[in-house]
């Protein structure tokens, strides 16, 4: 009795960890953009949704190899990041934050409706069946393991980009003091665009991991968009390390809550934890007091 119980709990813990990797990747993209451009992309999960559709069409319908389809989706969402910044954010950069929120919020509904118009509301699956791995008495979904591994690699690549290149260093620096950067010859508009493209590409990477596990439909963004915002706020909005930590804490809470009760109760527990953290540290785990 005891051993079986422990093994299921261990499985829940590991699944939480694996789930956390994808959530961390999602929050990284959102935090990166917010930290630099200072605008929250309410529509970030919808960019992910478009990435998922891209893979569905390229792989599921046109039979391109999954890796190629994923690469094209990443390029596509990167281009989408460019367009979102260039067409929507950049004209309102100087206006009140509430207007920026409303604009990206409006874009969320636009993208959802656009996808509905183009592809209807059916749930679509890429039809890729990945095996379930068995290790001793533990069972893991190969899709989750793969998603976790690629998410970690993606985050490591972003880390190297941010620490080893001058553009990355400028991105880290501009999130701290945008005025000073321009005095050092940095064209801030260019940094914003590069950041938006990188953030968009991360949405594409997340899309290629999510599409392995979930069906795609125009409203799929709602199933992981809100939790991504909660992660970012709990970690300290704009703080990438804080988001990383919060992603794993919340995914474990969800997974363990799901183990003891229903998955929905896991989400309830996660949001309760979020509210408690916000009472204790309104600026987030690693956020700075403003």
């Amino acid at each position: 009795m005891d051993t079986i119980f422990d093994i299921y709990l261990l499985e829940a813990l590991i699944n939480g960890l694996l789930f956390g990797g994808v959530l961390a990747l999602l929050s990284l993209g959102l935090n990166l953009i917010f930290g630099v451009v200072d605008v929250v992309w309410i529509c970030y999960a919808e960019v992910v949704m478009f990435g998922m559709y891209a893979i569905f069409w390229l792989h599921g319908v046109y039979d391109l190899p999954i890796v190629l389809a994923a690469l094209l989706a990443i390029i596509g969402t990167g281009a989408m990041g460019f367009l979102v910044h260039f067409l929507v954010i950049s004209p309102i950069l100087g206006s009140a934050p509430i207007n920026q929120l409303l604009a990206t919020g409006g874009l969320l509904f636009f993208l959802q409706s656009f996808a509905t118009l183009l592809w209807g509301i059916e749930f679509r699956n890429i039809g890729l069946r990945l095996p379930v791995l068995q290790w001793g008495e533990l069972f893991f979904s190969y899709a989750r393991l793969l998603a976790f591994g690629i998410a970690v690699i993606g985050m490591a690549a972003i880390y190297l980009f941010l620490t080893r290149t001058y553009m990355g260093t400028a991105i880290r620096a501009i999130s701290q003091d945008r005025e000073i950067m321009t005095l050092m010859g940095v064209d801030s508009r260019k940094v914003y665009l590069v950041t938006s493209v990188v953030g968009g590409s991360l949405a594409g990477l997340a899309a290629s991991l999510l599409v392995l596990q979930y069906d795609v439909h125009p409203f799929v963004g709602l199933s992981f968009g809100p939790i991504t915002f909660v992660i970012c706020v709990m970690g300290g909005l704009g703080n990438m390390v804080g988001g990383f930590i919060a992603a794993f804490i919340l995914s474990e809470v969800i997974s363990i809550g799901g183990f003891y009760a229903e998955l929905e109760w896991g989400y309830v527990a996660a949001f309760v934890l979020f509210i408690i953290v916000m009472f204790i540290r309104p600026e987030g785990i690693l956020g700075k007091k403003s």
């Binding site: 950067m181 050092m184 010859g185 064209d187």
Partner: protein, 255 residues
């Protein structure tokens, strides 16, 4: 002043109904150190911000090396060769000391440079101001004087021909102030950089500058050699006050 590097004419900045800078005109000669002094709120920083491109002038012209640069973006002005430091140092706390300066060395040249060249530029600038840079030391290990040196090194790493040095030496002790003054003099001598030095206390500045201008409520009230300005009744009235005797003694009799 045959070859002026910077010519400012009737420069004006209004914020709503408040005139921060009122038709200020001056020129800076190649290789000169020009002192710009005035009480807090007299418009010194506003003038700097307009030259550096952080503020758009309401009226007036700014010509740098013959080119009209008023209203240019800061990164463009930086690329043309104007560097600016801030009164209150604004380092990037998330970056190391060397990274702080290397960013300026990489982006501030107005042309594409290699990674190695940017590091070398940064190392040279740090040597110039006397900050160690061997390791990835954190910015947070620096004290007030060290942060000012870092601020200066960042501006130098952009390879300016004109340096706008906003040096409130208020936070430093006397020997640190002397060091800062000597450093600006050395930057001019060894790197051939023209300097405008903003300050709100006169003492140390008067020893180093070639000419000095005094601002009060956005207007230029006096301009000339340090010794003349220190004896200008208008300057004594609005600015020097009780310290007049001390400053006059340090710069000698009027010429």
């Amino acid at each position: 002043m045959a070859d002026a590097i910077l010519t400012v004419e009737a420069l004006t900045k209004r914020f709503g109904g408040f005139t921060a800078v009122d038709e200020v005109s001056f020129t800076v000669g190649q290789g000169e150190i020009l002192g710009l002094i005035g009480p807090n709120g007299s418009g010194k920083s506003t003038i700097f911000n307009m030259i550096a491109g952080l503020l758009r002038p309401t009226a007036g012209t700014i010509r740098f090396q013959g080119q009209s640069v008023g209203g240019f973006s800061p990164n463009r002005i930086c690329a043309l060769g104007i560097g600016r430091t801030f009164q209150i140092p604004r380092p990037f706390h998330k970056l190391s000391i060397l990274e702080n300066v290397a960013v300026a060395g990489y982006f501030g040249q107005g042309r594409r440079v290699g990674k190695a060249e940017a590091w070398e530029t940064a190392a040279r600038a740090l040597d110039m101001v006397g900050l160690a840079h061997g390791d990835h030391a954190s910015v947070d290990t620096l004290g007030a004087a060290g942060l000012k040196k870092l601020e200066l090194a960042r501006a130098l790493a952009t390879n300016p021909t004109l340096l706008l040095a906003d040096e409130s030496l208020g936070g430093l002790d006397e020997s640190e102030m002397d060091q800062a003054a000597d450093m600006l003099e050395r930057i001019r001598r060894e790197m051939g950089i023209t300097i405008i030095w903003v300050e709100h206390i006169m003492g140390v500045l008067m020893r180093v500058v070639d000419r000095v201008m005094v601002l009060d409520h956005g207007e230029l009230i006096s301009e000339g050699l340090p010794a003349d300005v220190a004896h200008d009744p208008k300057v004594i009235e609005v600015y020097l006050g009780t310290d007049a005797g001390e400053v006059q003694a340090s710069v000698g009799a009027a010429g």
